[in-house]
């Protein structure tokens, strides 16, 4: 696999890693670190084990597809961890809400454009840069909806729990930042005109406010 072919997959993996950072935010360190390490190991294995016949774009979509298919379980797992419960299925209303959010994510990802630039083959996920405007817009849209649904459900379900109240302001700020990122990206796209491959100066996908980064 060449560096060019790997870069889109690396960026997809970095986005999934970023999502994992969000849904583990505020959980006990040992729980959080174990989940992050496990997901990052999985992403590394998938990126490096891809056969030579898979295109970079195909691999990126497969990685994002796996993440999207697991979003309901991710949200459910987080809720259970916040409540200190053993993992269990989501309630039916919550499944409907999250399924709608996932459907929105799938619709966005179906339009996902992954270009082949930046990111060397040996870059860590934290070092991967996102430089393509359309990619940034769509990946932001892909994750901001389930993020917001998750946040709203948490406030509703465990908002009065002291353990959750402690992390609530930072989490609220994180969600607000993600929406602001999307607003800025959409504004940039509007000002430049619609394009499938309009390069921007590289921007880190890690965009949490200073001091509250998970």
């Amino acid at each position: 696999m060449t560096n060019d072919r790997q870069s889109g997959a690396m960026r997809a993996a970095a986005r999934v890693s970023s999502w994992a950072e969000f849904y583990t935010f505020g959980l006990p360190d040992d729980v959080r670190n174990e989940r992050l390490d496990e997901v990052r190991s999985d992403l590394h294995e998938q990126v490096t084990s891809a056969d030579g016949h898979s295109s970079d774009r195909s691999l990126a979509r497969r990685i994002l597809g796996r993440s999207i298919r697991g979003i309901v379980a991710d949200v459910s797992w987080r809720r259970d961890q916040l409540r200190g419960l053993a993992p269990r299925p989501l309630s039916k209303p919550m499944r409907v809400v999250v399924a709608l959010a996932v459907a929105a994510g799938v619709a966005v990802s179906s339009m996902l454009f992954v270009s082949s630039e930046t990111a060397s083959s040996n870059a860590s996920l934290a070092e991967v840069q996102v430089g393509d405007l359309e990619y940034q817009v769509r990946s932001e849209m892909l994750f901001v909806v389930p993020l917001s649904v998750q946040f709203a459900e948490e406030v509703k379900e465990v908002g009065s729990d002291p353990n959750y109240t402690a992390v609530l302001p930072q989490e609220r700020e994180g969600v607000a930042t993600e929406w602001n990122n999307l607003r800025v990206l959409l504004s940039q796209r509007a000002s430049r005109g619609r394009s499938w491959n309009r390069a921007l100066p590289p921007t880190s996908i890690r965009s949490w406010p200073a001091g509250s980064a998970p």
């Binding site: 390490d37 190991s41 993440s67 298919r69 797992w77 053993a86 993992p87």
Partner: protein, 108 residues
């Protein structure tokens, strides 16, 4: 319990050949056994593994960080099927096993 049975079955097979199994390898094995191209979602897989570990069907241990570094990759969390997991798999309802077998035969 379908995914739990599948994990126990695939995990047992991987364990026999490699002494244990880890998330991505298991995801590949699950896809192969189901005749699917798409791998199971991260969240679905790791939530199930977490649930099964809590219930004592699986045990897990993190790989040594130094050996993983030498291999040029992040450390893996290695799983094994426990005695309780093997017992649950052996006691799987016949209807489930037959349905799974028929589904696989139709895909072959």
């Amino acid at each position: 319990m379908t995914i739990e049975y599948d994990i126990l079955e695939c995990g047992s097979q991987l364990e026999q050949s490699a002494g244990g199994f880890y998330g991505f390898g298991l995801a590949q094995s699950l896809a192969d056994s189901r005749g699917q191209d798409a791998l199971i979602g991260h969240g679905t897989l790791y939530k199930a593994l977490s649930r099964m570990t809590v219930r004592g069907l699986l045990s897990s241990e993190w790989e040594d960080a130094d050996s993983a570094t030498l291999a040029g990759r992040p450390r893996r969390r290695m799983y094994r099927v426990t005695g309780e997991g093997a017992r649950v798999l052996a006691a799987r309802p016949a209807a489930t096993a037959i349905a799974v077998g028929q589904a696989r035969a139709s895909l072959a």
